[in-house]
Amino acid sequence: MISESSSREKVAPTILPDARGQASLIEAELSNSVAWLIRIRWLAAIGVILATWIVTTVFDLEVYSHVLLGIGAAILAYNSGFYWRNRLMEEAKAPASAYQQLVKWQVALDWMAMILLVHFSGGIESPVALFFIFHIIIVSIFFSPRAALASAVLASVLLAVNAGLEYAGMLPHAGVEGFLEAPLYRQGMYVAATLFFFASTSLIAAYLASSIERNLRQREQEVVQLSGQLHQTGLRLQTLNEAARTVNSTLELKEVLNRLVESTARVMGVQACSIRLLDKSGLNLEPVAIYGLSQAYLDKGPVSLASNLLAREVFSGKVVNLPDALNSPLLQYREEAQQEGIRAILSAPLLGKDGPFGVIRAYAMTPGCFDQQDEVFLVAMASQGSSAIENALAYQTIEELDQEKGRFIRMVTHELRSPVGVIRNLLSTLKAGYMGDLPGQGVDLLNRASRRLEYLQKLIDDLLDLAAGKTGVLAWGGDLETLLMERLVEQAVQRFEVTARQKDLNFRFDNSIGGQGVWIKVNREVFDMVLDNLISNAIKYTAPGGNVTVSIGVNEGVINILIEDTGIGIPAESMGQLFYEFYRAPNARALEPSGTGLGLAIVKEYVKRMNGHITVESRENQGSCFSVTLPAAPTPDIESADNQPRS
């Protein structure tokens, strides 16, 4: 993936540092080296000036001090120039070639300064000549091994020419008076031997330095490559991790699928990705999530296992890489793929508990752009995706069954409702004495029958509410209103004030929003029912003298309504079943024998319908706290603001 094309790079997410960093790494390295060279040169120049001063004042030797000091000053001067040039280039983010050019200029001037220094400090007699070795090493660092060897030769030739000219008397000898007892520049053997050892030292130094440098460079390349690979691997791991999180964060099938195709395409750096799932017949693959493909391509025709060779191949459990998709015999819709610009396709099966149930595909616009790493990645995504999709599908089935149950409850209770209502009417007619007075026992029997009927009526009504929640009949009733949430809660609290006072409870409304104007889009009946249910429970199950507090808060568009009490609480073993239909905790049952056990199930359904959540915390004999979170609605405009709660 290091050799990715620029078009693939464009779609790469910017979660980790950009892969472009590979190139700038080399430039940064060069700029650092240049700065290092400049720092050393400051020292060298100061060294020249200082050495000249020491030689003349401390050792009292005669040298061409003005010339040597001049050379030192010249080095300082041109080094200042290089210093500023490097700074400017850094700011302008100059390319590597500009730095190479700058180094060449530095080396050229250094070598001129060097040969002048050698000449004016005694030529072949000068110990300064050894400093050429440093310059050869510098060349080895910045240039090729060939250039390093050439520089060794050049240093030797320069020294030899200087020695030769002085030996022949064609160049005046600039020796250091008092350094040697007798000048050596005219002693042939000395000159030849010194030149020989100088040349061989230079060549060996060049060879060693460039060998070391070559190894270093190789390592540097490896580091650059590895960091690129790490970058890609990091991205992929992150995407896999995100995909794994998707599995846990949502059970909405559509959401799971969309996140999968998008993150796959983005991380692989390809233009498109799709997921197709087997339809109910088990013969055709239907597109269920698409990223980056046109509608025209999707409408190309059915993909059936019978006629689509690629699908069949993938369904045998294989990853199929078509590096040159248009020329692959496996491709069914060649023309459409060509029009779409697709050149390479990588497909992996989605494997469920009962074998393959779909296929995930990545599409690239350049042939042969999928490598083995891509295959491994797509398989990993497919495996993560498979479990996510299976979970979501299972959840969808449960939801559908639950709705079906709701519809059934609705049908049955509807049929039960009118006879029960009529029996109640008939009984109350009897009780009212229209048929003449009844004997005392008869009245008692009638009262018992009435009580049973009241319960039956409540049960039927609750079941209808529950079914309404499950099937969404009430919530989708078309009368969703945007209402001021705090008013609604306040009114619910007011509805229970009398009851709470009669029971001698400390009943409070804690409004931490304080007129911020938080709106909510709900079916008012549904919202009231939820609150009434929770508040009446809190009052019912709290002993006189206890506290019941309703509080509201809002945080980042999420409304939180808390209904807290200091009542009988919920036994730990009942917590898990509290919202189940017909479940009643033993302590609640003991306190209040009549009750359908449907109230909280209805509340839960309704809260779910309002896109909210309900949770409960409780300790037996200490109290309970029900927390309802709901999405806040945007503040309505003035025309619809007359939707103020009816008071």
Binding site: R417, S418, N425, Y434, L474, G477
Partner: protein, 134 residues
């Protein structure tokens, strides 16, 4: 004083009996009809002061339609002479469907709506509110 007359239209015989007894105990004269068709036959024979009308009978909206026919603004319509008779609608529709109704001159020209099941005493009270004591 002449007793007031109520036409009670509901397809549930038992409910009719119970409601009739309640209304009669309040001093009203009650005629019954088991549906819109029967009501159409009974109406010309009586002069009701009030019609108590169920909604779901022959069809799920039979009561609505009958109310609309009764309140037809055309002076030549079949029921023009009953156009001023108040109508009290009995319905379980609020509980059974997501639809919400309230009396409306144009679409639901009735005086009052009572939700089924009808608790004892409620009907009598509403009737008295509408047409007064007999």
């Amino acid at each position: 004083m002449k007793k007031k007359v109520i036409l009670l239209v509901d397809d549930d015989e038992d409910l009719r009996l119970s409601l009739r007894l309640e209304l009669e105990s309040g001093g009203f004269i009650v005629y019954e009809a088991g549906g819109v068709g029967e009501a159409a036959q009974v109406l010309p024979k009586i002069t009701p002061d009030l019609i108590v009308l169920d909604v779901m009978m022959e069809t799920p909206t039979a009561g609505f339609q009958f109310a609309l026919e009764l309140r037809d603004k055309d002076p030549n319509s079949t029921w023009s002479q009953y156009a001023q008779v108040p109508i009290l609608l009995l319905t379980a529709i609020h509980r059974m469907t997501p639809f919400r109704f309230e009396p409306d001159d144009e679409y639901l020209p009735v005086e009052e709506i009572i939700e089924k099941p009808v608790d004892h005493g409620v009907l009598l009270e509403k009737v008295r509110n509408l047409i007064g004591r007999p």
